[in-house]
């Protein structure tokens, strides 16, 4: 009974044969289960080493061959969508306002039309997430943050900028010195299209030289103040000065 290789059906009925207990427990057959487990560990290690190349290949294949799959497969659209509240916050394009307050000579409440009347700036730069993924050469456009600050007559000697989102939870911060850089955008388009809901429609911040969490989505408020207040993710352990490749213990290539 212990080693039935080609058992006849009749042998499968109750035979009443007594076998020593050990016979049941002796190894029978090849240890295929162990080989599968070890093989998977080996494949997993290979995947970790070659995964960066493989994921780029998979992402570009899916993007060109089956763009519809990007919505259901992780990371294949290049971007991963993170929200800190329940779903995407809703907005009404007619009622949307971006307020600029604090140490400014003219507090502003900008509609989407007002934003299009300010000087428009475009830039094509990468988006690098602190969790490791990067999307190369994203075309962005909108109004330079420095142009918005100048339009409000912001006190440029003030220390800090605080950004709030109409999702009610997401906040971000920059120093005034950082905010005046020419690669920080109040962005209204991406890839030549109005911002999609998941990318922060209708207006988001794009802080090119810093990790993605600084690029606050669903932007609704800019406040000029004297003290940097750490934002949502910074309260959860991420660096306030989030330079790509020089913060959060990461060595990514800087975005220039």
């Amino acid at each position: 009974m212990a080693i039935p290789v080609a058992v006849q059906p009749s042998m499968c009925s109750h035979s009443g044969m007594e076998e020593p207990k050990e016979a049941q427990l002796a190894p029978r057959g090849a240890p295929v289960g162990r080989r599968i487990v070890l093989g998977m560990i080996g494949l997993g290690a290979l995947g970790i080493v070659f995964g960066r190349t493989a994921s780029q290949a998979v992402n570009s294949t899916v993007a060109t061959a089956a763009p519809g799959l990007s919505g259901v497969l992780p990371g294949t659209g290049g971007f991963r969508i993170y929200t800190v509240t329940n779903g995407y916050p809703e907005y009404n394009a007619d009622k949307y306002r971006l307020t600029v307050t604090g140490l400014v000579s003219t507090p502003l409440s900008l509609s989407l039309a007002d934003l299009t009347e300010l000087p428009q700036t475009g830039m094509t730069k990468d988006f690098q997430c602190v969790t490791g993924w990067r999307v190369d050469d994203v075309p962005w456009s909108g109004v330079l943050l420095s142009d918005v600050l100048n339009a409000a007559g912001a006190d440029l000697t003030a220390e800090a900028l605080r950004f709030t989102s109409f999702d009610g939870a997401y906040t971000e911060s920059l120093t005034m010195e950082q905010g005046l850089r020419p690669d920080i955008l109040v962005a209204t388009t991406m890839f030549g299209q109005p911002l999609a809901e998941e990318h922060g429609a209708p207006v988001r911040l794009y802080v090119a030289p810093m990790y993605g969490y600084k690029s606050l989505k669903w932007l609704s408020g800019i406040e000029v103040g004297q003290k940097v207040v750490p934002g949502y993710w910074e309260e959860r352990g991420y660096a306030v000065d989030a330079w790509v490749g020089e913060s959060n213990g990461m060595t990514d290539e800087p975005i220039t």
Partner: protein, 204 residues
């Protein structure tokens, strides 16, 4: 030689095996649901709450090996591991034929499909735990290792979701097997039909 009446049910899983399965199942469920919310763009949109989902996922991930380690202290579980590990020539035959359910090929306590599934799940848990640790302690690893780990973690998770769905589908189709995992015992007739070699072994 045995004059007492034949038992109508036989023990398939001890309490230790059932609790191992139960806790692993719950943790796997939590991990798959939170994973879907974290990484499938559609689900992120509907549910969101990224920090809560992330923390739940991480805690469940760290807990996942514990039921397996605890189970290894139980003889019955170690016996199951041994049975799941070994493939007999009959197992290969069983996998190759479409007539695997007609009872011609003897099947032990676990059929070859169950053996493959358990090996795949154990391998997956180890790889997902390893890549998950790289992602959690990301500051100690270079970028390409982090990206590679994310890649492996994402795609293996999709395969695990498919395997889990298949496992649940097979269980959905066999109420007796489900009852066996719930109560521990199965009717002798069921054992003779689905796992004849094991039924003989238990009664001999």
């Amino acid at each position: 030689m045995n004059q007492s009446p034949e038992p109508t049910t036989i023990l398939r899983f001890t309490a230790a095996e059932r609790w191992t399965h139960r806790t692993l199942g719950i943790l796997m469920g939590v991990l798959l649901i939170t994973a879907a919310v974290l990484y499938l763009p559609g689900a992120s949109a509907v549910i969101g709450y990224r920090p809560l989902m992330r923390n739940t996922h991480i805690i469940a991930g760290f807990l996942l090996p514990i039921p397996i380690i605890v189970a290894c202290f139980f003889w019955a579980f170690r016996q199951d591991l041994r049975r799941l590990n070994r493939f007999s020539p009959n197992d290969w035959k069983w996998l190759r034929t479409r007539k695997r359910r007609n009872g011609e090929i003897p099947v032990g306590k676990f059929n070859a499909g169950q053996k493959l599934n358990s090996a795949f799940v154990l391998g997956s848990i180890i790889v997902l735990l390893g890549t998950g640790l790289v992602m959690y302690f990301n500051r100690f690893f270079p970028d390409d290792i982090r990206t590679g780990s994310t890649f492996v973690h994402d795609w293996l998770a999709i395969l695990v979701a498919i395997a889990t769905a298949g496992h649940m589908w097979m269980a959905y189709g066999d109420a007796t097997a489900r009852k066996g995992m719930l109560t521990g015992s199965v009717p002798v007739e069921w054992a003779e039909k689905e796992h004849d070699e094991w039924a003989n072994e238990v009664r001999s």
